[in-house]
């Protein structure tokens, strides 16, 4: 019953926000809408498509052709249903995340059982029990439903709502061992925004873990299915655009080369505004490698046994370092964090990070107004805020990982910090 009330309230809040007079303001906020996901650009793209002008000829539309066709249908047939649709999609995302976290909790318990022999006696009470884990799933649901970031993202009717749904769906399918569906959804998400391509690694590991058997075969199967699906979607999109692959320049090309320097909550915009033309390509490559490739391999090797943690961290890192992040992405990975409630006691920077989130969220719109509307601040102010927001997110993620390895250590060696009776401290070596 309580769950239904939660959904109802969250749905009503979203629906009400979309019908508010300030909706336009919400939908146009730089923190919510980026050139990639904004509702305004989607409408422009659909309008051009409807008037037989190729929306990929210009610079105003960067969604995938599949989304273009779907929203063309929706906007033509049932434009009045769209606020409801976005609300329902976001609630569905919340539901899928809830279900995903439930399956993840089962995976936690199983892996805990497996490792039981390695656990020190005095650490036995630290092991997770059913009630704790069930509580965590409830938190996942609540955080996604009531987190202002995801609420505003849905109210702004950005296409990130769809992307979150696709990622959630693929995680849910992966956690239940439905390989093909997981691959289809993650391929769709990748087709839309490219960065979810990272998730194929944790999904492959998850699928191999859930469907016991030949691990390597499973990896290959998943990768193959993913590549085939992705290729198929790319082909379908080209088919929609009359066989032309030019749309790729406006979707992946736009994401990778960062031509639009409109401010957002990420690190790219001011960096590439102020970049010397000579070094632009070098730094674009460096930043995209940082977002797309750099952390996958080391983190996979280190956290091979914890695909869920790997997925969480990769989603978070790709959100922080992607070229056009928005608070919808942040809201999504924040909703995954309550699954790691048992690590919170090991985290050291909770307070700092929390304060930083609150302060930057309040300061961002303020300095934006001062810069753009009052003319009494300049770009550096907003840049400072986005920089500290990114720093806070980085602290949160690294802290989470440190907490995990500390807990791992504690489980194995007990909570006493003593070596041969002498006081000792934990260090990395």
């Amino acid at each position: 019953m309580a769950v239904i009330v939660k959904y109802l309230i969250a749905g009503l809040v979203r629906y009400w926000l979309i019908h508010l007079d300030y909706w336009q303001t919400i939908a146009n906020r730089v923190e919510i809408a980026t050139p990639l996901n904004s509702w305004k650009r989607l409408v422009e793209g659909v309008y051009l498509y409807d008037h037989n002008i190729n929306p990929y000829e210009g610079d105003s539309f960067h969604e995938s052709p599949i989304m273009l066709v779907i929203f063309h249908c929706l906007l033509k047939r049932v434009p009045y249903l769209l606020p409801l649709l976005f609300t329902v999609l976001d609630l569905l995302t919340a539901y899928l995340l809830y279900q995903t976290s439930k399956s993840f909790m089962k995976i936690f318990i199983e892996s805990q059982k497996k490792q039981k022999n390695d656990i020190a006696d005095e650490s036995k009470p630290m092991l997770l029990n059913e009630t704790q884990l069930n509580e965590a799933t409830e938190y996942v649901l609540s955080v996604y439903l009531f987190n202002p970031y995801s609420v505003l993202n849905c109210a702004g009717m950005t296409t990130t709502v769809v992307q979150n749904l696709l990622v959630a769906a693929s995680l849910w399918n992966a956690s239940n061992g439905r390989g093909i569906l997981a691959c289809i959804f993650i391929a769709l998400a990748t087709h839309q925004a490219l960065y979810p391509v990272l998730l194929i690694v944790p999904i492959a590991i998850l699928l191999a873990d859930v469907n016991k058997g030949c691990n390597k075969c499973s990896y290959i199967r998943t990768l193959l299915a993913f590549v085939l699906c992705w290729g198929f979607f790319i082909y379908i999109s080209a088919y929609i655009m009359d066989g032309s692959y030019n749309y790729v320049h406006n979707t992946y090309g736009f994401i990778l080369t960062v031509p639009d320097l409109k401010p957002n909550i990420g690190l790219f915009w001011y960096f590439f505004t102020e970049m010397f033309e000579h070094f632009r390509l070098l730094f674009v490559c460096a930043f995209q490698i940082n977002a797309l490739a750099l952390y996958v391999v080391p983190l996979t090797l280190r956290f091979k046994k914890e695909p869920v943690l790997l997925a969480t961290v990769l989603i978070a890192l790709s959100t922080i370092f992607r070229s056009y992040p928005c608070i919808g992405d942040v809201g999504f990975y924040l909703a995954l964090l309550p699954m790691w409630k048992h690590l919170f006691t090991f985290m050291q920077q909770k307070f700092i990070v929390g304060c930083a989130f609150i302060i930057t969220s309040a300061l961002g719109p303020t300095v934006w107004h001062l810069w753009i509307y009052s003319g009494s601040a300049n770009a550096n102010f907003f840049f400072g805020v986005t920089l500290s927001f990114a720093t806070a997110q980085i602290f949160l993620i690294t802290d989470l990982l440190f907490a995990y390895i500390k807990r791992e250590f504690t489980l194995k060696h007990g909570s006493s910090r003593q070596v041969e009776g002498k006081p000792a401290k934990l260090v990395l070596r």
């Binding site: 051009l48 102020e274 010397f276 080391p298 753009i372 550096n380 070596v419 000792a424 401290k425 990395l428």
Partner: protein
């Protein structure tokens, strides 16, 4: 002397070259005076191996880049259509260049860039800044004025660009005068004294090249090179509404150019009835012209090369009086909407005062840094207006292509039509801002092409006309006109130009903040390290800094 001139003219006639100079002066009551100069050279040949009167540099440009028709204007100031009526040739503020190329040209865009670069050198103007990112191909608004082969698709051969930021000054006028056969030593061009003409409210110099029919059936064509100057004087600057050549140009007219076949001055004296004035010296003749429902009275002076200095002027018999300005049948206004530097809109208002509907083509040409959204196009606040008969839109691309919108509208009689379109401000790279970034960015003017049903306030030459005499009694069923609206200005948000090193360092630091711990987590493992005996305070402090270093 007279014999010499006749002889010279005969020789030139044999070479098929002809030079005509004309001035048209029209008072724009109550406060302004419009004077329009045109210097026309007609050339038979197109090879330009040898030329007598025609400027060889222009001829070479035309033949090298295979241009069929060329229009270039350099303008300072804004023509006020609602007050001043219509000019003979309208021009956009700043520099404007458009040309039709020969159908045989393979790569028009390449030739276009070469053409603009050459003209930039020829006129000391910044036309070399014309590139694909500010060039459009108007589909409906511009049509060739010269002779073209029928069944030829001329639209694809056209390129148009305007540079609203261009500042026009003496350095453009001097090379322009050098193209004339008499340069500035004799003839009407001697009046063009840069000290005086840059002191006007509006001045525009132009070069227009087109092909005109040489015979009745138009099997042969001639090349017409027309150089124009349009000036609008303010009576306030002259000192009174009594004007004379000496007041306008600093000195009188030292006779006609001896190389010209005709040198004629037309003064519009229609306003004499409402503002009585006396011309001196008396004109050679006064011509009545009836054109499309408007009556004109033109005083005509035929100037001889041998005459002494003449100073044509006007003395008003009554003091200045105020009057109501009756606006022309079609006038327009353009402005930018919105506040802040995030979202805005451009509004173009078209007023049709006439009692029939007027068909107009409106061409909006927004630079790439002003992305307009077609979905936000509203005509009289309607999304899908019935007034739009045809529409063309070519979306822009950042740093590559401007936004180009053309609308064919039917303006209902006695109405005001408002076209609104939204745009979003673009954040440029720091090196893309012009030197004074906070000065603002100029938006080029929109082009409005109309077929006017009346010749009221209309002063342009008929399409087939060469000299100004062709306007007399030239009634047609409609009068084609191309106007430019006023430009506008927006202030784009600017970054801090002194910050590049700081920003690069700070952003990279944040990336390193993630890289460092993640590297540690992935490559190192946790161990317990014994802590020694309790330390003294100083050592603790020392250790604190040491730990930081680690």
């Amino acid at each position: 002397m007279a014999f010499c001139i006749i002889f010279l003219t005969l020789i030139l006639g044999a070479f098929g070259e002809e030079f005509i100079e004309e001035i048209f002066i029209k008072p724009l009551p109550p406060t302004h005076l419009y004077s329009y100069f045109q210097f026309i050279t007609l050339v038979d040949t197109e090879s330009f191996v040898h030329s007598n009167l025609a400027p060889r540099s222009i001829g070479e440009v035309i033949s090298r880049f295979q241009v069929d028709e060329l229009h270039m204007t350099l303008t300072e100031g804004q023509w006020r259509h609602s007050q001043w009526g219509y000019p003979v040739l309208d021009a956009a503020p700043g520099a404007e260049l458009y040309a039709w190329f020969n159908p045989e040209v393979k790569d028009i865009d390449l030739e276009w860039r070469k053409l603009s670069a050459t003209l930039s050198g020829l006129f000391c103007a910044s036309l070399n800044f014309i590139d694909s990112f500010n060039t459009i191909t108007p589909q409906m608004a511009l049509w060739p004025t010269g002779a073209v082969k029928s069944n030829l698709n001329v639209t694809t051969l056209l390129r148009y660009a305007s540079l609203p930021r261009e500042i026009v000054c003496t350095e453009n006028l001097t090379p322009w005068k050098k193209l004339l056969p008499c340069e500035s030593s004799r003839g009407f061009s001697a009046l063009l004294n840069s000290r005086m003409i840059h002191n006007t409210n509006y001045h525009s110099i132009g070069v227009h090249v087109r092909k005109v029919c040489a015979s009745e059936d138009c099997t042969e064509t001639k090349l017409e090179i027309k150089q124009t100057v349009a000036l609008v004087y303010d009576y306030k600057i002259i000192g009174s509404n009594d004007w004379s050549f000496r007041k306008l140009f600093g000195h009188g007219l030292p006779g006609a150019c001896p190389l010209a076949t005709s040198s004629i001055i037309h003064v519009d004296i229609t306003s004499n009835t409402s503002y009585p004035f006396q011309l001196s010296p008396m004109p050679d003749k006064v011509v009545q012209s009836r054109r499309g429902g408007s009556d004109l009275k033109l005083a005509v002076y035929e100037i001889d090369a041998s005459v002494e200095m003449i100073n044509i002027g006007v003395k008003h018999s009554t003091k200045e009086k105020l009057s109501v300005i009756i606006p022309p049948p079609l006038h327009f206004n353009r402005y930018v909407l919105g506040y802040g530097k995030e979202f805005g809109g451009i509004v173009t208002e078209l007023v049709n005062n006439y009692w029939t509907a007027i068909d107009v083509v409106v061409l909006e040409n927004a630079p790439w840094w002003l992305p307009i959204q077609l979905s936000s196009l509203r005509i009289n606040s309607e999304a899908e207006s019935k007034l739009v008969k045809s529409q063309y839109y070519s979306p822009g691309r950042s740093r590559q292509k401007p936004y180009h919108l053309e609308l064919l509208l039917k303006l209902p009689p006695r109405s005001t039509t408002t076209i609104t379109i939204d745009f979003e401000f673009v954040f440029l790279k720091w090196q893309e801002y012009p030197p004074d970034a906070n000065h603002g960015f100029y938006i080029g003017s929109a082009i409005i092409a109309a077929n006017l049903p009346t010749a009221k306030n209309y002063t342009s030459l008929p399409v087939t006309g060469i000299n100004y005499h062709s306007t007399i009694n030239a009634s047609q069923s409609w009068y084609p006109a191309v106007f430019r609206t006023n430009g506008a200005m927006v202030s784009l948000p600017t970054p801090d130009f002194s910050m590049p090193y700081n920003v690069i360092c700070l952003a990279c630091t944040v990336v390193a903040l993630a890289f460092g711990p993640l590297h540690n987590i992935c490559t190192k493992e946790l161990i317990l390290k014994p802590v020694g005996t309790p330390l003294s305070l100083t050592q603790k402090i020392l250790n604190f800094f040491k730990r930081k270093k680690e």
